[in-house]
């Protein structure tokens, strides 16, 4: 690592003040950023830890929506979201490994928007709202491609608010070495719509498979998915899987998720 100062402000205002300084960078759970610093791929002058800010922590229900503070760890979501939104809890319980889940946070994952991260698919499929220090951003407007989001310089995620679906399921195909999603599909069923979001597959990061959403809104069966053409997006092709393979996985995992919800 290059040398830097680490500070842990106890309030959001103090954190924002610190982040306004030159070459200051925010630290959430650190499970991606610290390895990145060790590889000398980032060189902040100051790292501003958000861990000591109480208002960024916790899971609560507010007007029928599930609110998760940005600095809530995956382990806490797995535990405390379970009775409200079991599919989200299951997703959180299968990120990385137990030690990573005890540090890694939902806000860090969303702000990083790794194309293979699990959380973006749940947020997009649920039509969640990202509450920041400046505004609320709809999930459909938040993810802008691989490692890119609508967040501005100095804008921090405070919390994510999820409309709770009638039923939902996340089907993940593990990349066996990294435990990231080689492809993962989150299917969420609401009164008036079905939403399907896919992570790990596209060059553009997480995306909604709208053809599957339309088909499933009319007929919620695995067959309805299997009869579709594979999604026509620019798929990632690398040593772990070709573009064709990921397109196929997208269809297969969507059908599996729907089948699970039909049981």
């Amino acid at each position: 690592m290059y040398a830097f100062d680490l500070i842990s402000p106890k309030s959001l205002d103090k954190a924002l003040e610190a982040l306004a300084e030159e070459e200051a960078q925010v630290l959430a759970g650190g499970q991606t950023l610290i390895p990145t610093l060790k590889a000398r791929l980032a060189a902040p002058a100051t790292l501003v830890s958000l861990r000591a800010i109480p208002e960024l922590q916790g899971v609560s229900i507010k007007e029928g929506r599930l609110r998760i503070g940005a600095m809530t760890t995956h382990a806490t979501v797995a535990d405390q979201a379970r009775s409200h939104f079991p599919a989200l809890a299951d997703l959180a319980a299968n990120i990385g490994d137990p030690a990573v889940r005890n540090r890694g946070t939902i806000g860090g994952s969303l702000a990083n928007n790794d194309p293979s991260a699990c959380y973006p698919s749940a947020v997009l499929a649920s039509g969640a709202t990202i509450m920041t220090t400046k505004r609320s951003i709809q999930a459909d407007d938040f993810f802008l491609g691989m490692f890119a989001t609508d967040l501005e310089e100095g804008e921090l995620i405070r919390a994510v608010e999820f409309p709770i679906p009638i039923a939902a399921h996340y089907e993940k195909f593990w990349q066996p070495a990294s435990r990231f999603a080689l492809t993962g599909v989150f299917v969420a069923r609401y009164d008036n719509a079905v939403r399907v979001a896919v992570t790990g597959a596209s060059e553009e990061g997480v995306f909604r498979w709208t053809a599957a959403e339309e088909a499933l809104s009319k007929r919620f069966t695995a067959d309805a998915v299997n009869e579709l053409d594979r999604p026509d997006v620019d798929m990632i092709s690398d040593l772990h899987g070709s573009a064709e393979y990921r397109a196929s996985l997208t269809q297969v995992l969507t059908a599996r998720a729907v089948a699970r919800l039909q049981d």
Partner: protein, 160 residues
């Protein structure tokens, strides 16, 4: 430099350190608690697993500057009060749950957290829990066996 107050293995410590110091570095270099190992240094292998406020974490991926007021527990504090091996450590010995021993401190820290929260884990739960702890010697079979034995779930016929 920052002044950080924390508890390590029950002992109160006031440290004046650079906040960016990694916990594993601080444990090994400053406190000479060298039972916590550095394996990959990239948050993959789990050899550096310790408990922070009762939760297993990778000490190579935490800054000491974030640990003011924290309670840290390492492998040095896992033995019984009389210095004998804890039931989980004894099970590793009895069931040959280690060969070179490099990953063992991390394995013990990880599994002790599992057994505290889930006293009778299934084999699948044990294997899922060990996803972040890599062992290149044992093939895991005897580590899983040790965890089953430590949770009282192994018939004596399976011992060995």
């Amino acid at each position: 430099m920052q002044t950080i107050t924390m508890t390590v293995n029950g002992r109160g410590i006031t440290a004046t350190v650079e906040g960016r110091t990694l916990l594993v570095e601080y444990l090994r270099e400053n406190l000479q608690l060298t039972g916590t190992h550095i394996g990959c240094d990239t948050s993959q292998c789990g050899a550096c697993t310790v408990h922070v406020d009762g939760l297993s974490v990778k000490s190579c991926t935490i800054f000491v500057g974030e640990l003011d007021g924290a309670e840290i527990r390492t492998i040095e504090d896992m033995e019984n009060a009389d210095g004998s091996l804890s039931p989980l450590q004894k099970a590793f010995q009895d069931h040959h749950g280690l060969q070179c021993g490099y990953c063992t401190p991390g394995m013990i820290m990880s599994l002790s957290a599992l057994l505290r929260d889930t006293p009778k884990p299934t084999e699948a739960q044990i294997r899922h829990h060990l996803e972040g702890n890599i062992c290149r010697c044992t093939g895991y079979a005897n580590i899983v066996k040790a965890a089953l034995a430590a949770s009282g779930q192994l018939d004596s016929a399976d011992a060995g």
